[in-house]
């Protein structure tokens, strides 16, 4: 028995699934097969009925997905936070910024290289929302200091390393990312940087082929005490990557 999980990449790249899925399978006997793609592609694939359950991190898009009848119900699953990484020399002096809006404004003013995923992923949508709160218009500067990579988080971080650029990333990806080069965390902690993951079973009324029972079992297990404990127990280099917060 198996189900397909359409998932964002950060959860896969960080190794979370390799840690928790064996526990899930041991408990329920169900094999969860993860297809890790961008949030946008994950939701599209699921809307095409090519998945049984979705794990992503872009709340507005998730709610629209449910409102369209593609998913049954959205549940908060876990969170971590976004951080701004950049070259250790910190030419835009981001580290001392009081809040994320100031941090981004300084990057724009300094015209320091900034690598944006620009791929409509959850991370990118959040980044755009954060720029909204500043005076800067980074997209107008695209191709100069603002680099729209159109790539996944890992690829974008590789690019940021390659060009000594700033980037917004989720903490899970960052901790498990192995090609950090000269980059380090320069800004973190602003409440606006909260990164909430949700889980949504695909709606069997929209997709008759969906393995609804398995999907529900997966969702239930993730939201259960066992699942939440498993998520909390996952660490990389001693650090906890995801903080369960199912209601």
């Amino acid at each position: 028995d198996s189900i397909i999980v359409q998932s964002t990449t950060s959860t896969q790249n960080s190794g979370l699934y390799d840690f928790i899925l064996p526990q899930f399978q041991a408990t329920t006997g169900i094999e969860a097969r993860v297809v890790a793609v961008g949030t946008g592609q994950a939701l599209t694939n699921a809307a095409n009925c090519d998945g049984d359950v979705v794990v992503v991190h872009a709340r507005p898009a998730e709610e629209e997905f449910v409102a369209n009848g593609y998913g049954t119900e959205r549940h908060d699953l876990m969170y971590n936070d976004f951080i701004i990484v950049g070259p250790s020399a910190d030419p835009a002096d981001v580290a001392s910024a009081p809040d994320v809006a100031t941090a981004l404004s300084r990057i724009a003013e300094a015209e320091a290289p900034f690598a944006s995923r620009a791929d409509n992923s959850g991370t990118h949508m959040r980044e755009m929302a954060l720029w909204e709160a500043t005076d800067a218009d980074p997209v107008a500067a695209s191709g100069t200091w603002y680099r729209e990579t159109g790539s996944g988080m890992g690829a974008t971080l590789n690019i940021a390393v390659g060009m000594d650029a700033y980037a917004l990333t989720d903490r899970g990806t960052w901790i498990s990312f192995e090609n950090k080069g000269d980059l380090e965390i320069l800004f973190q902690g602003d409440p606006a940087l909260n990164n909430q993951y949700g889980v949504i079973p695909v709606n069997p009324e929209h997709c008759p082929n969906v393995r609804a029972e398995g999907a529900q079992a997966f969702t239930d297990w993730l939201l259960s005490d066992d699942g939440q404990a498993a998520i909390a127990a996952y660490r990389v280099q001693g650090e906890q990557l995801f903080f369960p917060n199912a209601q």
Binding site: N13, V34, C207
Partner: protein, 235 residues
Amino acid sequence: MDPFSSAFVAALELIASLDPNLLEVIGLSLRVSLTALALACLIGLPLGALLAVVRFPGRGAVVVLVSALMGLPPVVVGLVVYVTFSASGPLGPLQLLYTPTVMVVAQAILVTPIVAALARQVIADLNVEYDETLRSMGTSGRMTIATLVWDARYSLLTAALAGLGRALAEVGAVMIVGGNINHVTRMMTTAIALETSRGDLSMAMALGIILIALTIAINGAVMAVRNGMERRAYG
């Protein structure tokens, strides 16, 4: 240690450990790509021969098309196959998405034009010599194609090896239709892409080194067999 050396060390360690995961991934790569190549040859060789031999209206256009399709972008092929085999697509009921079978389909689509276009050229070149002789004998179309393919077999191997190279190296299409699911549809190239996006460049390059070594081994074996056969035939 510079990144290249560390990649080499990692590659050697991986091989030495005979990591079952690695073997599984290598096995799937070989299985999918060789099956796709077999399909591509089954269609591409006769098709190439046909285009080389038979004159029909619109043949020039087909030749251009096949030649152009050597440049099919893997991602586009992946998408088209995805849309076709997606649950909401026409072949959705087959439930083949995210299985090795559909990866074979995607790679066969990518590789068939390569085999066909290269075979067409090889066979057309041979047919410059054979054409009048075979026609003067009243050779049937089917027999003409069989004769040309057989007599050009050593040259056609290069076309097949080009196709195999494309299949083994390709990632865009299998990533989309296979989903790179661990233990199910993870191949060498999708594993490399995954390690790259995780920033583990050494591991990615190590896997790359192993993949290239594998490709060299296959090519070497094919060439050795071919040379042996050629020598025996023309002793």
